[in-house]
Structures are given as C-alpha cells and as structure tokens.
C-alpha cells in the first residue's frame, strides 16, 4: 500500500458518517412524525455515501426512504470504497491487472454457485420449520465422505453419479431420522421454547456426526477423482486463444480459466438448482412444501399434513447439503472437520439473503463467493490475505445483522 492513508481516511469517513446517519436519522424522522422503519438503515447508507452533503439535505427534506434511494446510496458507498482503494494502492493486482480481476470474478462466481446450493438447503429448512440447523455443515461433510467412499473404496470405478446418489440417500435418511425423533415433538407443544431447543439439539447433532465420522474414518484427508474430465480441445486449433481444454482445466479467451472439478461442481449445482426449482414449482409435493411455508393452517385445511412436510423439508435440506459436499469432494481434500467453515458460510449466506428466501440464498452465495475472492485477491499483505479467509464472510454477517437483520430479500418461497 503506497498511500494507505487515503484508504484509511475514506474508510473512517464512511464509518463516521454512516454511524451518525444511522443514529440521528431515525430521531429526526420520528420527530417529524414520519415512517421510521427504514430510517436507521437508510440514514446509515446515505450518510456513508456522501457524508454531510447527503445527510443535511436528507434531514431537511426528509423524503420517504425508498429501496431505490438506498440502492443508489449503496452503489455510491461501494464506488467510494473502490476508488479510494485504487488510489491508495495503484499497483495492486486488483487495480492494475484486468486478467487477474476477471479470473477472480470467475472464481468467486463459480464457488458462489456451489455455496448457494448448500445455503438453499438451510433456507428450505428454515422456511418450513422456522429453525436454523447447526448441523448443516456435517451433512455437507457426510455427503462428501459417502461419495468418496462409494467411488474409491466400496465400489471402486462406480459411476460418480451413483456415488452422488448414495450420498443423497444417506444424508436424506439421517435427516429424516433426526427430524422424526428430535424435531417432531416441537410442533406438538411438547417442548418449551422450541427455537432455543432447536439450536442446541442441532448443535448436538453436529457434534455427534462429526466425531462419529472421525471415529469411523480416522482423519486422513481424502478426495474423489475428477468426476468428468474434460476432453482435450483447442479452438481454434493453432493459437488456442478462444477455448482451450485439458482434462483438468478450461481456458476461454486466454484469460478466464476454470479448473475442471470446480466447473463440474458448479454445473452439478446448477442442475440441482434447476431440479429443485422444478420440484418446488412443478410437483405436487413441492407445491405442498411451498404452501406450508406460506400458510400452515391453510395448507392443513387442504389436507396436507404439515408435520410430514417438516420431515421432508429437513431431510431435503440435509440432502442438499450432502449434495454440495458430494460435488465438492472432487475439488477439496475432505476431512471430518470440513463442515464447520462451510456451515458458517451458509449461515452468512442465508442471513444475507434474508432467512427463508430461496432467491436470497442463491444471490447471497454469489455475494459471499465474490467477497471472499475480492478479500483474498485484493488485500495487499500476502501473509494476511488468505489468513483472514474465514473472517471475510463473518464480517459481512456482522454488518448485515447490525444494519439490516431481515437481509436483502424479504421472505419468499
């Protein structure tokens, strides 16, 4: 960082005026007898955007704070952030190297899609049962483990699709049994303070599953082979500038390169997403699930059994986590502990996207993917950039919870 001060001051400026706007605006709006539900968040971002130059007019004119206004303000804040960063560190790869930026963006999007798939499971569970499963990461881990053991140990040479299917079945069944024994009583009023109970009991499940797997498999990292290696292709054949494929990699325009396992995982995730959408929007059971999430009583009136929908939602959520684990076990080395950071990331995503919102989960996944890519890619200090990876998404989580606990999207399934 050459002119670190520029960036530091910009950050301070944003924080100071943001805090001031967030605290003072609701007071002023309340004094003027105006709608204040958005005043705190709106005031914060508008303050962060242009400081006194936007706050003073806001306080004087006190217009209705619309989503549009907030959107513009957020865009300005991001603009200031990026500009001051670029000014402060003009040699940074993120500023100076277009190819690098494109690669990082691609990485972020590809991994974000997979994060999104995992978070979808969590959001599905939340929208139907109203609880956050703290064992989500363990289902992810088990999904990967089963896929590995199927394809490499138990039935070597079996098609990866069969292995993935097996992992779906296993995670689904575990989710099913758990829901029936431990979560079903919540609905019947047998358990007091169900939300807290759910937090603790899924937490216990996580603990159990993780150590159970570790006791069974020991802690040697494992990894599945590439499911579907690319064919070797070079287009146009001589120069290789347009498209170049090797078994492990595809390069487009000599700039964007995506490793094969990630690519297949992302494609699998997209296929699953499509299948999930098809299931939720086109099948009877899927519609029943959505119906229960929108109006439990009305659904019960039509003869849908909401309890069995709970079970289904939980098992399916677990299965989606298992599935993203299954598709990532060919990308990352796998251990009984891999679920913990993955689960933490899913929490961030669903809070960011708005708890219970399917589109929110998907978009949240992309955002988290991009932020992590930006964090690792742009932080100048090489010894810190990667060391802070687990913290990037947590910083977003903290900010979102403090500024806008409802997330980006309202609830919609």
């Amino acid at each position: 960082m050459e002119n670190a001060a520029i960036f530091g001051w910009a950050l301070l400026w944003i924080l100071f005026w943001g805090a001031l706007g967030g605290v003072v605006t609701p007071r002023i709006y309340a004094r003027k007898d105006l709608e204040i539900s958005q005043a705190s968040f709106g005031g914060a971002v508008i303050g962060a955007a242009l400081g006194p130059f936007s706050l003073v007019p806001l306080w004087i004119a006190s217009p209705k704070i619309t989503g549009r206004l907030i959107g513009i303000a957020i865009a300005i804040v991001i603009g200031i952030f990026v500009a001051s960063f670029a000014l402060a560190d003009p040699d940074n790869l993120c500023v100076a190297n277009g190819g690098f930026v494109i690669s990082q963006l691609t990485n972020g999007i590809v991994i974000g899609i997979i994060y999104g798939l995992m978070a979808l499971g969590l959001t599905l569970i939340f929208s139907i049962l109203g609880v956050v499963s703290f064992a989500h990461g363990e289902f992810y881990m088990i999904g990967g483990m089963v896929t590995y053991f199927m394809s490499a140990v138990w039935l070597p040479g079996v098609s990866p699709l069969v292995a993935i299917l097996a992992s779906c079945i296993v995670t689904f069944v575990i989710g099913y049994i758990f829901e029936r024994i431990f979560l079903r009583p919540m609905g019947s009023g047998e358990i007091e303070r169900p939300t807290e109970y759910a937090i603790l009991v899924t937490f216990g499940l996580a603990f159990f599953l993780q150590y159970f797997t570790q006791a069974l498999t020991s802690a040697v990292p494992v990894k599945a082979q590439r499911f579907f290696p690319f064919p070797r292709v070079e287009l146009p054949a001589e120069s290789g500038t347009l498209l170049k494929m090797t078994p492990g990699n595809v390069t487009i325009f000599d700039a964007i390169s995506v490793p094969n396992p990630r690519f297949t995982a992302a494609v699998l995730a997209l296929i699953m997403l499509a299948a999930l959408l098809w299931f939720l929007y086109r099948t009877w059971v899927g519609k029943a699930l959505r119906a229960v999430s929108q109006d439990r009583q009305a659904a019960a009136v039509t003869g849908i059994n909401p309890n069995s929908m709970n079970t289904l939602a939980f098992s399916m959520g677990a299965m989606l986590a298992g599935l993203s684990g299954a598709s990532l076990v060919q990308v990352f080395s796998w251990l009984p502990q891999v679920g913990i950071p993955a689960a933490a990331r899913s929490f961030v995503i669903i809070v960011l996207g708005g708890m219970g919102s399917l589109p929110g989960a998907f978009l949240g996944g992309l955002i988290v993917g991009l932020v992590e890519a930006a964090g690792t890619g742009c932080i100048p200090d090489a010894t810190r950039a990667a060391a802070y990876i687990p913290a990037y998404s947590m910083v977003i989580l903290t900010l979102v919870l403090l500024l806008k606990p409802t997330g980006l999207f309202g609830r919609e399934l």
Partner: protein, 241 residues
C-alpha cells in the same frame, strides 16, 4: 390528576392502515370501554399507548409529558399499565416472583421482602393466595389472567388498559375481575377496557370508544353510543335505515 391525550394517532403496517387519526383524552379516574370488530386496531392502539409500538404519526401525552417516544418500561414508570390479549405470565417463575417484578422495577433500591406482604394482600384480593409458590405455567388460563391483573396492582399505575379481560374466563372468575375493576377504579385509577362482551361493557363502562377498522367512530356515553346508527351498522350489519 391523571390526564392522557392521544393526538391524531396513525399507524401503518406496510400498506395497511390500522389506525387513522385516532384522538381522545382521558381525564381523571374514568372507566372507559373500547369496542370494535376483530382487527379494528384495538390491540394496536394499546400497544401504541404503551410504547411497545411507535405511531407512524401522532403523539401521546400523559400528564403533560410526551410518552410515545419512550420505551415501554418508561411508559410503565410514567404510570400506565396494561394486560395482554393473550396472557403473558412469566411461566417459569412462581406466582410470587411474577408479582414482585413490577414492584421492584419501579423502585431502584427496593428489596424483595419489602413487597412480599403487599403481594400477599394482592393475591388474597384476587383469591389465588394459595398458589403463591406455584410456577405460573401451572395456573389455568383464567388464573393467569388474574395474575396479570395482580401484577398491575403491584405496579400501581395511574391508568390501566385491559385487553379482553373477560375472554375465555370462567363466570366465577369473571366476578372477581369485575370486582377488581370497580374497586380499583373507585381508588382513583382510570381504566380502558377492551372487550367483546357487550353485557359487561355496557354495565361496567361509563364512557365508550368504538373503533371500526382504524376509525374512531364513536366516543361518549354508552347509552348514546348504543343508539348511534353508525355503530349499529358496524355491529348489526347493514341497517335499512
């Protein structure tokens, strides 16, 4: 002398206008009934007076001080107590502890044993003194209602809002609540009573407010209000004049 004024209260939930320009004044130990069909905004109004909700616009003053900007505990300390439509006893605390909370909250230096005697009196008044060491969750719905009323006595506010005190209550307990209202009112405390039970409201209250989907359509003597054609229309369906 108590004086509560609500000026032009409006409340929106998103696009839904639940209260439209509601203004009224309570002066002295009045006994007011508040009626209106389901979803008329009665509970919402209570929440606004109590500070649990902020009005979208409008103000509430109590004894010359603005209270709509205060948090609920500030309003409670200013002298306004309320019960909830769905009873909200502290279920895993004993009856006695339930009663001690408001008394202690009002006085920063107080100790528990200072109030045990008073709590005993209140329990006896409400005929549930034998339950003092039971957990509140072991009480029946009606008894939980009594417990809520008892908490208000311990809080000792100047004005009390009761949200459907008679709903789902056994007739015998109803007598207790009835007696409670009249006696406490005689001690100089104002009441606003929300109820769907017309008999009780008409015998009990000396002033009637009628809310109809956010509008305050009537305010006055119960007998007069009863004859009001607008009110009749709201309650008895279409009247062919």
């Amino acid at each position: 002398m108590l004086r509560l004024t609500s000026n032009n209260i409006c409340k929106n939930f998103g696009g839904l206008e639940v209260l439209k320009d509601v203004s009224f004044t309570v002066e002295g130990p009045e006994l007011i009934g508040l009626i209106g069909p389901n979803g008329a905004g009665k509970t919402t109004l209570t929440n606004i007076l109590d500070g649990a909700l902020k009005p979208s616009s409008g103000t509430v003053y109590m004894n010359g001080e603005r209270i709509d900007t205060r948090p609920p505990y500030g309003v409670a300390r200013a002298g306004l107590g309320r019960t909830f439509q769905v009873t909200r006893a502290f279920r895993r605390m004993t009856v006695l502890e339930n009663l001690l909370i408001p008394a202690m909250a009002m006085r920063a230096t107080a100790r528990q044993r200072d109030f045990e005697e008073k709590a005993q009196e209140v329990l006896e008044f409400l005929t549930i003194s034998h339950l003092r060491n039971e957990y509140a969750r072991a009480l029946s719905g009606g008894q939980q209602k009594l417990l809520e009323l008892g908490r208000l006595l311990m809080l000792d506010p100047q004005m009390i809002i009761l949200d459907e005190p008679f709903a789902g209550v056994h007739p015998r307990l109803m007598d207790v609540i009835y007696r409670y209202i009249t006696e406490i009112n005689a001690q100089g405390k104002a009441f606003i009573i929300i109820s769907h039970d017309m008999d009780t409201i008409f015998t009990l209250s000396r002033r009637l407010l009628v809310l109809n989907y956010g509008d305050l359509i009537a305010d006055g003597d119960p007998e007069v209000v009863r004859e009001d054609p607008v009110v009749k229309a709201a309650y008895l369906g279409e009247d062919e004049e």
